[in-house]
């Protein structure tokens, strides 16, 4: 058995009085792409924060790289996982390029000499921006970007941290149809990167993910390979609305009919 990059062992997560997840047991192997799917308020963002080590679990534990999360230092964690949130605080102005380069904080000693020339660091930041199709925004003030553009800059910053695991919170929530496809395709291409991402769009999840974790919000969950978990039989009761699966060429398309699930 290969060692999992990220493992939840009997993980309990609570929000206030409500149990979001109970006894969660999953193993995320290197190179896998997991989609977190569930209705609003099911605890996707909260679970991502627990997996990132930002929030303490309410029971059980999370292992990253074979070691419990709380045994890694803040500095070490920054080298293992990045978290791309879907809310950004830009109280003061900053260029998109600087925002991406700031994500390289953990390399500040290694690149202290190089940053005088600044060449390599900047080239890397530009590559990450280019991968997210926003190299043209490099010198723009992040406060003046549209939400979709700002989101791609945040994704570029996540890539620039160069971690084996990237946690994504609704990574395409503000993207237009073209960028929804391109962003996820580009992320998939960056093997051996491992992703755990909350995704609202089931079709995007089906296209992007190798595995899926369904969260109901009452503590129960289902996990497994994407094709066996993302099915109309499981998704309809999960969202409390009828969801029908259609086969279109090689793609599975999910359509919400608005009916009551059987």
């Amino acid at each position: 058995m290969t060692k999992a990059l990220l493992a939840c062992r009997g993980l309990d997560v609570r929000y206030g009085e409500r149990w979001l997840v109970r006894a969660l047991h999953i193993e995320v192997g290197a190179g896998e792409r997991w989609a977190l799917v569930g209705p609003n308020g099911a605890g996707k963002t909260t679970l991502l924060q627990v997996l990132a080590g930002v929030r303490a679990p309410d029971g059980g534990m999370v292992e990253l790289g074979g070691r419990p999360l709380d045994r890694w230092s803040v500095e070490e964690l920054a080298g293992l996982r990045a978290l791309v949130a879907d809310r950004w605080f830009d109280p003061f102005g900053s260029r998109a390029l600087d925002t991406v380069m700031a994500a390289r904080y953990r390399f500040r000693f290694a690149t202290a000499g190089a940053s005088i020339k600044g060449g390599d660091e900047q080239a890397l930041a530009r590559q990450c921006l280019a991968a997210m199709d926003c190299e043209a925004l490099a010198h723009r003030d992040v406060r003046q970007l549209s939400r979709g553009e700002r989101q791609r800059v945040a994704l570029a910053a996540g890539l620039a941290q160069q971690t084996p695991l990237v946690l994504l919170d609704e990574p395409i929530s503000h993207q237009d149809p073209r960028h929804q496809v391109e962003v996820l395709r580009e992320l998939s291409r960056r093997a051996p990167c491992t992703y755990v991402g909350a995704l609202h769009d089931i079709n995007a999840a089906a296209r992007f993910a190798t595995h899926a974790l369904l969260l109901t919000g009452d503590g129960s969950w289902q996990a497994g390979a994407s094709h066996s978990v993302l099915t109309q039989e499981r998704l309809s009761p999960l969202f409390g609305t009828e969801i029908v699966q259609v086969q279109l060429d090689a793609h599975r398309i999910f359509v919400s009919t608005g009916g009551v699930p059987a």
């Binding site: 303490a56 803040v74 080298g79 996982r81 990045a82 949130a85 950004w88 830009d90 102005g93 904080y105």
Partner: protein, 340 residues
Amino acid sequence: MHFRELRPASFLALLAAAAILCLLAALRFGSVEVGTGALLHALVDRLRGGQHSSVAATVLSLRLPRALTGMAVGGLLALSGALLQALLRNPLADPYVLGVSGGASCAAIVAIALGAGAATIALFAAGGALAAMLLLFLLAHRALFVRGAALEQGRDTAILLTGVMIASLCAAALSLVLTLAPDGRLRTMVFWLLGDLGGAVSLGLATAALFGWLLLLFVGLRDARALNLMLGGELQAYTQGVATAQVRRRLIALTAVATGVAVALAGAVGFVGFVAPHLVRYVIGTDQRVVLPAASLLGAILVLLADTMGRSIAAPLQLPVGALTALVGVPVFLWQLRRP
């Protein structure tokens, strides 16, 4: 916020040059005017260890400690102000917002009421500042020490509000002491509360304060990059590798020491610590690696200017520096605000 095409290095060099000019002006102007030539001569002589007894030498021995102390006080206050505004992400923060100076003032006023000498007053002030800081760390324990709690929303507000409460408590105690104090000492107390450099007569202490300022600036600068990240949200900074709670503790302790030293040296000089960081950010943006030293230098300049004015406009009467900092600062600030 404007992005002007001014390089950070040239901006800092400009401020440093201005600070030196203001220092020379502070030595030259006052109730007795000495020629620049005689002054420079005396200054060079002094640096060589000579003991001439010209008028210029006498004036120098009185004004040099005062000017250097003023620089250190302005620099320390502006440094604390810049750090707190960034740390609490609140543009209204100033060095006094966390109640450290309240503690210092309280203790100092008690010392004055008891008839203590200048050295004892300064010691009391330092002790009061320390006590207020410890109280803050105790009361805001959760926001500062519990792992992960610093990432909860509203934690910087909790620290800020705790500080404001400590400040209010000190203000109440202060008014009590003021009311009960003997009339003869009230004038000293008022001067102290306004901020006054009249007590700065020791060149040794002034030099030590100056080095203390530079040392604290250096320590603060080591966290400047982390602070830049924290401006964009504590959660983001944490996942990018900043030990946010530690940085926060360290910098709050640093501002407490800086404010405590400044208040012990010159009383509660107002306004500088608030306005200097603002003016700097208008010109150069928010990169804390530039803002911290630039605000510090500007604070030194403002206090020097205010004190030189205070000694000159009503000479031979000497006005307390704290009465004039706002007088110098407000027009500059408003002029900046009005610029497109």
